[in-house]
Symmetry: C2
C-alpha cells in the first residue's frame, strides 16, 4: 500500500498537468475532447461508439455529440456496421488524419519544449513511467464504471 501523502501528490500533479495542457490551443477549433477522440479514432481505426467510450473514458452521451461534430467537420465518417445495423463504425477520413497530425504537432510542441529543459534523468523517468500510467488509467476506468 502506498501512503496517502504520495497519492495526494500524484493526484495533484495530474490535475495541474491536465489544466496546463488543456489550456493550450488545439488549432482547427477543436475542443480538447474532440481532439483527443479524433486521435483515438485515427490511431485505433474503425470502432463502435461503445468501445470508443470505454477506451477514452468519456460519457457515451458526450461521445455521441463529439462524434456528431467531427462528422460535420468531415474529419471522420460514420458507417453502419452491416452485421448489426445498430452499431456505428467510425473511421477517420483523409482530412481527419491530416488534421490529427497537425493537432498532434501543435499539442505536443509545448510539452516537448518543457521536457527538453528538464534534466535527462527526469525525462527518462517520465518516459519509463508512461506504460505504467496507461495501465493505471485503464484500472481506474475498470473499477469505478
Amino acid at each position: 500500500m502506498t501512503d496517502t501523502e504520495t497519492l495526494s501528490r500524484l493526484r495533484g500533479v495530474i490535475s495541474r498537468l491536465a489544466r496546463e495542457l488543456n489550456a493550450t490551443a488545439t488549432g482547427e477549433g477543436l475542443t480538447p475532447t474532440q481532439a483527443s477522440v479524433l486521435g483515438l479514432i485515427a490511431f485505433r481505426g474503425p470502432l463502435g461508439l461503445t468501445e470508443l467510450a470505454q477506451l477514452e473514458g468519456v460519457n457515451p452521451t458526450m461521445l455521441s455529440r463529439v462524434v456528431g461534430r467531427l462528422t460535420e467537420l468531415a474529419l471522420i465518417q460514420r458507417d453502419p456496421n452491416p452485421e448489426d445495423l445498430r452499431v456505428i463504425q467510425v473511421e477517420a477520413t483523409e482530412a481527419g488524419r491530416e488534421v490529427h497530425e497537425r493537432v498532434k504537432l501543435l499539442r505536443t510542441e509545448a510539452i516537448g519544449a518543457c521536457l527538453d529543459e528538464l534534466p535527462d534523468k527526469s525525462v527518462r523517468q517520465i518516459i519509463d513511467a508512461l506504460p505504467a500510467l496507461e495501465e493505471l488509467a485503464l484500472a481506474l476506468r475498470a473499477t469505478h464504471s
Copy 2:
C-alpha cells in the same frame, strides 16, 4: 528531443487520468479545484492569493471565487497582510484541516486501490516519476504564462 508519438501518449494518458480522478467525489460538497486549493493552503501554510494562483495554476479570478467559497464554509480564513494591506493571507482553519484530511483520504482511496492491483514494477515507476512530473508541471506553468 522526445518523439511526437510518445508526447502524444503522455498527453492522452494525463487527460484520461484527470477525467477519471475528477469524476470521483470529493465528499463535503467541494468541487475538484476547491478541494485542490484547500489542500495547497493546508499544506503550504499562509499564502497570498497571487502566489497561490501561480502554484496551483488557476486563473486569479477563479481563485478569488474559490477562496471566497472556502471562507464562507469556514475552512480557511482571510487575514490582511500587515506589511502590504493589498494582499490577503489565506490560511486553513482547524475545521479546514480536518475536512482536508477527510477529503484526502476519500480522493486517494480509489487511486490507491488501483495502484495496488498493478505490478510492483509499475507502481515503482510511477512513484519514481512523481518528482519529475511535478517539475514538468512547474515548467509548463512557467512557459505559457
